[in-house]
Assembly symmetry: C2
């Protein structure tokens, strides 16, 4: 479902160049549950951003289902992201003025899902991440781990084909983290969705079909 060929990514800062990815080849099949592990600064977020079409490689190719994403125009990319990919960001990227419920609901609004169906899915999802009692709280009225779970709910509520999760349990205690990963595993098995996670958490890694080690911009 996802394929990368000799992908590099460089960031330019005045005279400095940071080579975040230095030639990555990767192939992910539909329904896989993959973890990407690696030290801080090794390129995990960069890699996920490229897979999720949130950024472009410096060189090399990214394919989604045999489509070269470089050939897609902005509308096609936006639609692809809205309809097929759920993203759990490392810094959550919640909308500060919306409540937990409204943040979770937002991608369904974008997809034009009807109100009754929308409300039902959102409340069910908030229950799954154990935040039903916090539906009305804005992000600044939630703990760090609660915000992370809203980000998770929002990414999963549209039942996307591909879920990219950037360190989804970093701010969660072990028990809550395990609840979340088991939820994701359940979704993966029932819906054959593809999960690609970055993580430092050895508990999360145990669930993976495949573990990819990233080291200094390369797959080790």
């Amino acid at each position: 479902i996802v394929s990368m060929q000799k992908v590099t990514k460089d960031y330019h800062l005045g005279k400095t160049i940071v080579n975040a990815l230095k030639g990555v080849d990767l192939r992910v099949e539909k329904g896989e549950f993959i973890c990407i592990a690696g030290p801080s600064g090794s390129g995990k977020t960069t890699l996920l951003n490229l897979i999720g079409c949130l950024d472009k490689p410096t060189s090399g190719k990214v394919f989604l289902d045999e489509d070269d994403v470089e050939r897609l125009n902005d509308n096609q990319l936006s639609r692809l992201r809205a309809e097929r990919i759920g993203f759990i960001f490392q810094s959550f990227n919640l909308i500060p003025v919306l409540s937990a419920l409204e943040n979770t609901e937002y991608p369904l609004l974008l997809k034009g899902v009807a109100r009754q169906s929308r409300k039902k899915k959102v409340l069910a999802m908030l229950e799954e991440v154990e935040l039903a009692n916090f539906a009305g709280h804005r992000p600044d009225q939630l703990s760090g781990g609660q915000r992370q779970r809203v980000a998770i709910a929002r990414a999963l509520v549209t039942d996307p084909e591909i879920i990219l999760a950037d360190e989804p349990t970093a701010n969660l205690d072990s028990k809550t983290g395990e609840t979340i990963v088991e939820l994701m595993k359940k979704i993966n098995e029932e819906m054959n969705s593809t999960f690609i996670f970055s993580t430092h958490d050895s508990m999360v890694m145990k669930y993976a079909h495949r573990l990819i080690h990233l080291q200094d911009g390369r797959i080790a």
Copy 2:
């Protein structure tokens, strides 16, 4: 050095009240290295914010060195925070327009430290957190774990008496996390500074003199 007596903290949201802390008694001696563990939403950040005088309890008393913090005026509180407490925030709270170096330098500017001494301390601290090569990067040009380490550098650079660290290794891989905790332990031993951490990381807990379990707003 820190004492809390029957401290409660309630957050009011329209008709809803969240009882984040429900009667906490705590005493921390100078030079202790304490970890606070607990599930997401159990009150860790709330507790650290009260110790750090960033917020006020709903009821009960917080003392720093026998001074009731409620009796201190705003100037006294600001000075206390600037001169005696280093804080590593869960969401880092870096200044987006400043580089890693400038963010780390900022508390020294506030203290009026001379330029030569300032530069020397900042560069030494960035070395300690393994970010010397990223001194010129702004926060949006850094990875999640790199931003966290800038937050750590900034908190430690003034050699504060009390360091409050809210999940300081959440975004770090094991090896980088261990490097950081060992740095903190070294500072604790050499300078007899007091460290109070919240954490979910069992590796960090191993270093603690004392482990406090917070559960649903109370110390278990």
